[in-house]
Structure formats: structure tokens, C-alpha cells
């Protein structure tokens, strides 16, 4: 490999395990332990992507989650993923990646023309233009949308598996660097349950990329030994490749574990990712810090990198991102990196330091003959899509606000920039902690905690390794103590060096020579340059929140990890207002973007919500039922027979009930067992009608209101003994009604001695309906079910088909009918026995469609009429409403609006010509040819063809309908271009006197 940037030795990659991968269809080789970024750099690939707005060439800038530039489209087909930071992708054999936001290729990108016009595209340009001609906006928008965005979404369902985990612990440690390791160790030693989390595959944090010592050991040997120690402890869980994504109220945290992303594919049962929901008593935040870029001309050319990233590539991956470097710094931390880069074989053309005074850190660098320019800045980078070619350096004037003297041009192929460090306070802020600005080290640091957490190490601006170790140990012990482990104490930490970044010379915008207008990027991802921030301020978007939104500063996928502080500091300078007064924008979850699938977990496709099955489900299936979801239940809709259309089946089932006998599975109806001495009183208060005098052995239809007077639910309730009732609810309201009753008993009337328990699932319910129903049941029970023995609205406890059960003489279909209830496990036996014994009687199952036709024929109300806006009177239950007792909602029904005469009331509808179908969802109007907007008198709530009445019928709620029987109006559906003249009639269209059901 001629252009390899791999060092001869070193790094924690496994050189014995070469891995092959492709980027933009070119095949490359890397090693086990590489990231995609390190492998690309090792192969000399500098141009990775095109930027968001100007489509400028971009390369790798960092070695971690802060990466704003080096993003790729990873994998292919259904597994492809956009915007993946190459710095966080562990290399695997066969990995396929490509560049994004470019066409046709990253090298020749048509939209890079935007860069030529970049002067026309400052922050917020789109607010000022594209307004004329008005009609063109949707076209302009189309173009904007296609130019924006980054990678692309897969276009097939995600084939991978995701899971969740739930955990509780005493101490959660976020971050596995030196501070986090010591915290975990101290907390664990006290016996506390500890979860240690780090986003990287390997613990060690910043130590991974450095050549440090902890005590006498090499730092990473020390890390390994602590890892082994912790792993052996039963009370410790170590989660690597796991990000603490979010920090919620009451110390609830969400972790995102990448269980399978480092594998070619996570196969079989192994999830690709797993989200952990953790409730921690105490949290230690040891999330480290992120190096800041410097804001100078063309600081986005591929090859301009964070200094610590170059160091990490050299130390950890054995890759030198260039052969000849210039390092530009405003603090000491870069000097250590320079030494490591030099050790790795890189030439260092120069260190450019904006500070005026040499520090101790300079000496070892100078000793190696590396030139150091103090009081100088790199103000421009020369280069193009092929990478950095060189830099332009100038001295600073006395005040440090201008460049002075002559330009020094220097060739190089990589530039390190080090603008100081920003503590990773995201989680601290998410937890509601308050930050404080420290002017001397130019960072925000955690100040006042709100939740049960504490910070330690670099995330608290502690830069020295020795101090990080100590602080970690202390934080771990304090956390354990606060979690109730009184004896916890800090474990002793091995002595280490304590170098920091020394004095820092803030320089938020590196000055440029007069009259030059170089792009100095602040937010690399969203292409926000210093001039954009300046423009926002000029235009009055002076609140930092306005600046952010106007320029999109910090709104990219990196959420401003490298840009926020630089941006707000520029605002501060422009407004001449101290940084604390400018403030910062809100840190929001998640810390780094989290795959949607991981948030979803297993609840996908058919498991999106659980399926509830009746005890007869299997029978229905065998009988060829088509199922329809009803809430979580699956109900048989109809049972199609060979040669039948859907409607054939439905009409056959309906007629069969009307002429012979049909059976319908009513198990999903809500059933609530009500017991206790005050049960009758309780029911009296819940329903509009009375239940106190309901005799034992009888059922009664009841209607419940909400406190605001609207109908809540309806159903029949049976009295099984003096103090024992069984209430049924609609399927949809089973849950809400139970909760309502529980609320009333717990909160409103705690003095009532009543117990309510859901028994929906205990009972398998079957409606046996039709003229032959009595005969059929008589064959299966010895009980007296004659009209005298079990009159309409009677209930009896019986043996049926050899098992104990109940028979209710109730009817929804309007036929002579019974509802049989048996314990669920016996349901299939009883149902099939009835089916068998009723063969000659013509018994057949019917589904929800047939049921629905029959309920329309009978004018029974369901969800469409119980729409939460109808009163009992609207639906024709006015007469049922008791005036002798108080009940829920009673006081509301005397309000003026309830008494108005033109309220919409329930009515039956018949198609006047008998041939035209009443359109579904139609509105009732006087004249469909009238002018729009047109007055609507009401609406169709149900419609069908009645095979029994042999006509098109429906139900509707229509203004003043009760007094308009016989009136002819129109059911009009402009949506479907259907219209039908209808006659208003009683909703009780079939057997209005109820002779059949009483017979």
C-alpha cells in the first residue's frame, strides 16, 4: 500500500486481523480495533463528505462523538443508515460505507456550486426571498428540500432486532475514563449496586488516545486491571458501547447499548441495540470533555483536525492523519499531543501558539527542534477537496485583536487546532443542573445540582489526570454514601501526572488581514460561519436562542458539541455583553442521536400493541372467520363460505339470525363484578336510571353519564343476589368504566362498601339469537328457560353443556335471544357443543358486521352515537332518566344548552327510493344543490342494507329529529359524490314493539 498512513507499530489495533471494507465502492483494508475514520485516514482518504449548505468538501475532524464533518451513509439496502459518524463506527469485515449529500460523487458534486454563491446564502437568506411569484414557492421549496438533508433513509422496513432492559441501581457512573473508573471502584467497594457506562468499546476514556502512566503502569494496563477487578464483582454491571442518552426526572436515565453494531449483522436473537431504562439512586457524571476548534479562515478544509484527535489516531490506532503537521493552539494541552505525533513519526512543521508567553510545556517540543511561534495565529488554510496544502500564519498586534506583520506561508498536509476544552455537561444540564461560566478557563462548569448526581473529572473542568482519579474516587464514595452505604470511602488512587492546559488565551475569532472575507466556520456541520453569527446580531436576533435559530448554530446532528461555546462567545463579543449574560441554549436529550428502533424495542409490527383473543379465537379461525381489530381484541367480522362474497356472507349470517339461530362471540364486552352491601346504592348513583329495586335474577339496561352531562357508556347490569351485581360495558369502554368506578369508590364516595373487579376474561360470552335459540339451549341445559321460567331480562345460574354457567335473557339483535356465560376455559367446549346440537336448527356463527346490521335495524346506539357530545335525551333515553335520585352528571343536564329544542337527536333513516344506498359518513342537508357553505342539519352515524327489511337504512343524529318523523331530507357525501334522499323514521325499524325478543 503506497499511500498508507499506518505507523509501523503501536496502537491498540490487532494487526493480525485485517478487515476489508469499501468506501464509495473502493475497497480498503483496516484492522480489528479500527474505527471507520481511522481506517479511512490510514488509507489516506481525506474527503469524506459534503457539507450541509455550501457542499464544501469535508473530512474527519475528531475521534469521537463530537464529529461534525466526517459522516457517512453506512451499510446498504434495508440496513442502510444516514449520518453515521465515521469516528464512532467500529470497523468490521465487509463494511460498506459511502459519502453523502453529494451528487453524483463526493469529488464532483454539482451542488458545490452553492459554495460559489455562498455570498447569496447567508444565515436566513430564505426568509428574505423566494416570495415572488407567490405560486412559485412550492417549486423553490422542492429545490431547497432536495439540497438540504444529509444522508438518506432506508426504503424498506428495518430488519434488525431491538430490545429493552430495565434496571435499578445505587450508583450509575456515566463515563469510563479515569474519573469514572475510580468512581465505580469506590462505590462498588462499599457494596453498592453499580452500573458503569461508557460509549466506547473499551474503557479508559481519554486515556485510550494518550501515552500516559497511571502509577507505575501504562495507563491502559491500569485501565485493563481495573476493568478485570470490576467485572469480577457481583454488584457491578459494566456496559460498554453504551451511551447515557438522556437524564429524566427522579434520576431516571436512558442508556443506548450497541450490542450488534460492531458486527457485520446482528444475527438471530442478538439485538442490534438495546435501550436500558435505569432508575439510579445516585449518579456520578464522569463524561470527560471535548476539545474546541479555533475559528480561522478555511478551518474546514479536510485535514484540519482537533489536535487530540490526531494524537488519538497516532496512539490508539497507529495512524498518522498526515505526514507534516502544523498545530495551532491557545493552551498547553496540544504540546503533549505534538510529542506523541512526533513519536509516531510525523513531521511537525510548526506549533503556532497565540499566547505571548512560553510555558513549561513548550520546552520538550522545542528540544526536538520543532519550531514554536508564539503570539502568532494560523489565519488561513490553503487546500481543496484533496486536503490541506498549507497554512498562512501571522503575528498578532499588541492588543491581540488584529494580525500584523507579514504572512508566513507554510506547507503541511494536516492542521491540528486546539482551542481549549469544553466539559461534557450535557447530562448534568439535562438533569436540571445549573452551569457557571469560568472566565479563566473559558468554559461552563457544573455549579448547582438539582438531582441526585455529582460530576467528577474533566466534565467538571478538572484537567490533570491525577486530580481526575482522585475526584472520581471521592465522587464514587460520596454517591455510595448518599445511596445509604455509610461506610463508603474513596479508594486510593495511583499517583500520576497532573498536567493541564495551563493558561489559555481566549480567541473566539482568529483575526484576519484587512479586507479579507475568509469563511471562518463555527458550526462545521450546519455551515455556520462567524459572519453568519455577526449577521444575526446585526439583524437583531440577539438573544442566543434567536441567534441559534436564525443561523442554525448547534442544530445539526452533533448538536453543537464543538461549536456552541465558540458561537455564544462570538455573540458575547458582538453584543459586548459578558458570556454569563448571553447564556447558553438548552441541552436536550439525547446526548448523541439514538436509533428509533432502539427506542421502540420489541413493540413493532403485530406486537405494536398486544393482541387480545377470546377463548373462542381458535374456533373462529378454524371456521374461516375474517378478523377485525376492536381495540386490542380481534373479533370475527364475518365467516365467508366458499363461493360467497363478503356481503353474501354478512347477509346470510344476518338472515340466519332472523330466521333460525345464530351465535356471536360477546366475550370482549366488559364485565365488572360488583359486590358489597352498598352495591345497589352505588349503581343508583352511577346510572341515570334506578337499580335499587331491580329484583334478584333480573337484568336492566343502564346509561351512565359523565359529570358534564354527556353519555359515557351503556350496558346491562344483572342482580345475582341482594349485594352482588354483574355490570357489562361496551368493549371500547371496559377499561375507562372500571377506572371510573374505582375513582368514584376511592375518591368520591370512600364511605360506600363496594368492591369492583373486572371479570371480563373469566367469562366467555356467547349470544345465542334467533327464533330457534330457545330450542337450541333447551337441548343443552336442564334449566327452565321457557318464557315463564326465564322471561325477557331474566338471568339464571344453570348447568349448560355439562358445565356451570349463566344464561341472560337479553337481546342486542332484537330476536328472541340469550347470552350464555361460562368460565373461559370451557368456552370452546360449550360453543362447539351448541354448534353441534343446533345443526338441524340451522345454527351458524355471525360476526360483527351482521351484528352491526341488526343493531341498526333495532336502533341500538354504539360508539358513533355515543360520541361524547350526545345527551341521554338526544339518544332517546330521556324517559329513563330518574328524577327521584341523584346520579353522576345529573346536575349538568339542566343547563340551557341541554334544554335547547334544536339539539341533534337520534333518528332512523330510510332511503326514499329504496334503491339508493345511504352514503357512509354523510351529512344531512335540506337541499344538496344549495349553496356552499351549506347548513348541516345532522349526520349519518350508521348505514347499511337491511336484508331483512330489504331496504337501505341508517341511523343519524339530526336537529330536532324526534319531531320530524316522516320528513324527507338528503344524506349527502360530497367526498364520495353520493347523495340519497332519506326519510326520517323511528330508530326502531325492525320489530318496533319488541314482540320477537319477548316471545
Amino acid at each position: 500500500m503506497s499511500r498508507s498512513y499506518r505507523t509501523a507499530e503501536g496502537g491498540r489495533i490487532d494487526r493480525s486481523k485485517p478487515l476489508s471494507f469499501t468506501f464509495d465502492d473502493v475497497r480498503y483494508t483496516g484492522f480489528q480495533g479500527d474505527t471507520l475514520a481511522s481506517a479511512l485516514l490510514a488509507n489516506g482518504v481525506k474527503l469524506i463528505a459534503r457539507s450541509f449548505k455550501y457542499h464544501r468538501p469535508r473530512g474527519i475532524m475528531s475521534a469521537g462523538p463530537e464529529e461534525p464533518c466526517g459522516m457517512v451513509q453506512l451499510r446498504e439496502g434495508a440496513r442502510t443508515e444516514p449520518n453515521i459518524r465515521a469516528t464512532q463506527v467500529e470497523l468490521f469485515d465487509g463494511l460498506v460505507a459511502s459519502s453523502q449529500n453529494r451528487w453524483p460523487s463526493v469529488k464532483w458534486d454539482v451542488n458545490s456550486i452553492n459554495n460559489l454563491f455562498n455570498r447569496m446564502l447567508p444565515a436566513g437568506f430564505y426568509y428574505k426571498t423566494f416570495m415572488w411569484p407567490k405560486a412559485m414557492w412550492m417549486t423553490y421549496e422542492e429545490v431547497i428540500r432536495h439540497a438540504a438533508g444529509m444522508g438518506r433513509s432506508a426504503d424498506q422496513p428495518d430488519p434488525d432486532r431491538y430490545e429493552h432492559m430495565h434496571a435499578y441501581c445505587d450508583v450509575l457512573v456515566a463515563g469510563g475514563g479515569p474519573a469514572g473508573l475510580m468512581a465505580a471502584k469506590s462505590a462498588a467497594d462499599s457494596g453498592a449496586r453499580v452500573i458503569l457506562v461508557d460509549e466506547n468499546p473499551e474503557l479508559g476514556g481519554y486515556l485510550r488516545g494518550r501515552n500516559q502512566k497511571v502509577g507505575a503502569k501504562s495507563a491502559m494496563d491500569w485501565v485493563a486491571s481495573v476493568h478485570v477487578e470490576l467485572e469480577a464483582m457481583e454488584n457491578v454491571t459494566i456496559l460498554s458501547r453504551t451511551t447515557v442518552a438522556s437524564y429524566y426526572d427522579h434520576n431516571m436515565l436512558v442508556l443506548n447499548e450497541h450490542t450488534g453494531d460492531h458486527l457485520p449483522t446482528a444475527d438471530g436473537w442478538t439485538p442490534r441495540q438495546r435501550n436500558w431504562k435505569v432508575w439510579a439512586k445516585q449518579v456520578v457524571l464522569a463524561t470527560g470533555s471535548i476539545e474546541r476548534p479555533l475559528v480561522f479562515g478555511n478551518n474546514d478544509v479536510p485535514g484540519v483536525m482537533l489536535t487530540n484527535a490526531i494524537q488519538a489516531y497516532a496512539n490508539q490506532y497507529g495512524v498518522t492523519p498526515g505526514r507534516n503537521a502544523v498545530v495551532f493552539t491557545n493552551n498547553d494541552s496540544a504540546y503533549e499531543a505534538v510529542l506523541d505525533m512526533h513519536d509516531a513519526g510525523m513531521r511537525i512543521a510548526a506549533v503556532v501558539d497565540n499566547r505571548t508567553i512560553e510555558t513549561a510545556a513548550t520546552k520538550p517540543v522545542r528540544e526536538r527542534g520543532i519550531p514554536v511561534f508564539h503570539n502568532h495565529v494560523v489565519f488561513n488554510v490553503r487546500g481543496n477537496k484533496h486536503g490541506v496544502k498549507g497554512v498562512e500564519i501571522m503575528a498578532l498586534n499588541e492588543a491581540g485583536d488584529h494580525v500584523a506583520g507579514s504572512i508566513i506561508k507554510m506547507d503541511c498536509d494536516v492542521v491540528g487546532m486546539s482551542g481549549g476544552w469544553t466539559p461534557t455537561v450535557h447530562l448534568f444540564s439535562q438533569s436540571r443542573g445549573k452551569l457557571r461560566w469560568m472566565e479563566d478557563i473559558t468554559t461552563f462548569v457544573p455549579d448547582v445540582s438539582f438531582q441526585q448526581e455529582r460530576s467528577a473529572g474533566a466534565c467538571k473542568a478538572t484537567w490533570g489526570l491525577n486530580s481526575c482519579l482522585k475526584e472520581g474516587a471521592k465522587a464514587g464514595a460520596e454517591a455510595a454514601k448518599a445511596a445509604g452505604f455509610d461506610t463508603a470511602k474513596p479508594v486510593s488512587s495511583p499517583k500520576s501526572s497532573d498536567d493541564g492546559m495551563g493558561e489559555i488565551r481566549a480567541m473566539w475569532r482568529v483575526p484576519q488581514p484587512p479586507h479579507s472575507h475568509l469563511k471562518r466556520f463555527v458550526d462545521f456541520q450546519d455551515d455556520v460561519a462567524a459572519s453568519d453569527v455577526e449577521l444575526a446580531i446585526r439583524e437583531g436576533y440577539t438573544s442566543i436562542e434567536h441567534t441559534k435559530r436564525y443561523t442554525t448554530l448547534g442544530m445539526g446532528t452533533d448538536q453543537g458539541k464543538t461549536s456552541n461555546v465558540n458561537g455564544l462567545a462570538i455573540v458575547s463579543e458582538e453584543l459586548d455583553k459578558p458570556i454569563p449574560e448571553v447564556g447558553h441554549t438548552t441541552f436536550r436529550p439525547p446526548y448523541t442521536a439514538v436509533t428509533m428502533g432502539a427506542i421502540t424495542g420489541t413493540e413493532r409490527g403485530h406486537h405494536f400493541s398486544p393482541t387480545r383473543r377470546s377463548a373462542l379465537h381458535e374456533w373462529h379461525k378454524q371456521a374461516g372467520a375474517t378478523f377485525v381489530p376492536a381495540g386490542m381484541w380481534m373479533r370475527p367480522q364475518y365467516y365467508q363460505q366458499p363461493g360467497e362474497s363478503m356481503w353474501d356472507a354478512i347477509y346470510r349470517e344476518t338472515l340466519n339470525v332472523r330466521t333460525k339461530v345464530g351465535m356471536f362471540d360477546v366475550s370482549p364486552l366488559g364485565k365488572i363484578d360488583i359486590q358489597g352491601p352498598d352495591s345497589a346504592e352505588f349503581l343508583n348513583r352511577c346510572y341515570i336510571n334506578g337499580f335499587g329495586k331491580l329484583p334478584v335474577g333480573k337484568c336492566r339496561y343502564g346509561v351512565m353519564l359523565r359529570e358534564d352531562g354527556m353519555v359515557f357508556d351503556d350496558g346491562t347490569t344483572s342482580r345475582l343476589s341482594e349485594n352482588h351485581f354483574m355490570m357489562t360495558t361496551t368493549t371500547a369502554k371496559a377499561g375507562p368504566v372500571l377506572q371510573h368506578l374505582e375513582y368514584l369508590l376511592d375518591v368520591i364516595w370512600p364511605e360506600l362498601n363496594v368492591h369492583v373487579v373486572s371479570v371480563t376474561e373469566e367469562w366467555c360470552g356467547m349470544a345465542v339469537a334467533g327464533p330457534n335459540s330457545r330450542e337450541l339451549l333447551a337441548r343443552c341445559t336442564d334449566a327452565d328457560i321457557s318464557n315463564e321460567g326465564l322471561p325477557f331480562m331474566g338471568v339464571a345460574e344453570v348447568d349448560i353443556c355439562g358445565v356451570p354457567g349463566r344464561i341472560y335473557r337479553i337481546s342486542f339483535s332484537g330476536e328472541l335471544a340469550y347470552e350464555v356465560g361460562v368460565s373461559s376455559d370451557w368456552g370452546p367446549h360449550v360453543w362447539s357443543t351448541l354448534m353441534e346440537k343446533g345443526q338441524d336448527l340451522g345454527v351458524a356463527p355471525y360476526g360483527t358486521e351482521a351484528m352491526s346490521i341488526m343493531r341498526i335495524e333495532k336502533g341500538h346506539v354504539v360508539g358513533a352515537e355515543l360520541n361524547g357530545r350526545t345527551t341521554a335525551d338526544d339518544l332517546g333515553f330521556g324517559g329513563m332518566t330518574s328524577t327521584k335520585k341523584a346520579f353522576i352528571g345529573q346536575r349538568s343536564i339542566t343547563k340551557p344548552a341541554f334544554l335547547e329544542t334544536d339539539r341533534k337527536q337520534l333518528t332512523g333513516l330510510k332511503s326514499v327510493d329504496g334503491k339508493t344506498k345511504i352514503p357512509r359518513g354523510a351529512q344531512i342537508v335540506a337541499d344538496p344543490k344549495g349553496r356552499i357553505p351549506m347548513e348541516q342539519l345532522g349526520e349519518v352515524t350508521a348505514n347499511c342494507y337491511s336484508p331483512n327489511l330489504k331496504e337501505f337504512i341508517g341511523l343519524a343524529i339530526v336537529k330536532g329529529a324526534r319531531d320530524r318523523k316522516g320528513d324527507r331530507l338528503w344524506a349527502f357525501s360530497p367526498l364520495t359524490k353520493e347523495c340519497c334522499e332519506v326519510e326520517l323514521c323511528s330508530p326502531h325499524m325492525y320489530d318496533p314493539e319488541g314482540e320477537r325478543l319477548r316471545g
Binding site: 430495565h166 426526572d249 427522579h250 431516571m252 359529570e707 374505582e742 375513582y743 375518591v747 346536575r891
Partner: protein, 96 residues
């Protein structure tokens, strides 16, 4: 959130159902049904709730747990819960 059910102890938010203001009382039946105040009282009961920015006494239902209702004193800005108690007991704590 982690909510302390007075019986089951600390449980995850998703086990609970929020039932609103605990300070509203259902007005007792008026002695005289023609009492004019009663409409107003009733309106207040049905439609007016405490909606403080700060400590709030509220009813929660441990719907996926023991299914009991209980009271909680919770801060509507910080979501800190100062106390929870069975319906029959008084809440303590918070700055209320």
C-alpha cells in the same frame, strides 16, 4: 419519574394514570334544588381546577399496579414529589 405508591413503593411513571386536582370536592346535594349558587358550585366542580405553577396536590391511580388511587404533592415545574399518601390522609411537605 419514579412515584411512590403508598402501598407498592417506588414505581415507574408508566404504571400510573394521572387523575388531576385533588383539591376539588364534589359538592354535596343542595338542600334546596332551586338554590342559585348550586349551578355555580357545580360549574366550579366540573370545570375549574387548581393549576398552580409550583406545588400541586393531585390524584394518581396506580393503574398497572395495585389499582388504588392516592394523593401526591408534586411540583409542576421541577416534578419533584414531596409526599404521597392514601386518599384518606393529609399530604405533608413541599412549600405549601
Amino acid at each position: 419519574m419514579l412515584i411512590k405508591c403508598p402501598w407498592c413503593g417506588d414505581r415507574a411513571l408508566q404504571e400510573f394514570s394521572y387523575q388531576g386536582d385533588a383539591t376539588v370536592a364534589r359538592p354535596p346535594e343542595p338542600a334546596d334544588p332551586a338554590d342559585a349558587n348550586w349551578d355555580d358550585e357545580w360549574y366550579q366542580f366540573v370545570y375549574l381546577r387548581d393549576d398552580p405553577k409550583g406545588w400541586h396536590d393531585e390524584v394518581w391511580h396506580h393503574i398497572q399496579g395495585c389499582r388504588k388511587h392516592f394523593k401526591a404533592r408534586r411540583h409542576t415545574v421541577t416534578h419533584v414529589i414531596a409526599d404521597t399518601a392514601p386518599m384518606s390522609e393529609e399530604l405533608k411537605g413541599g412549600d405549601k
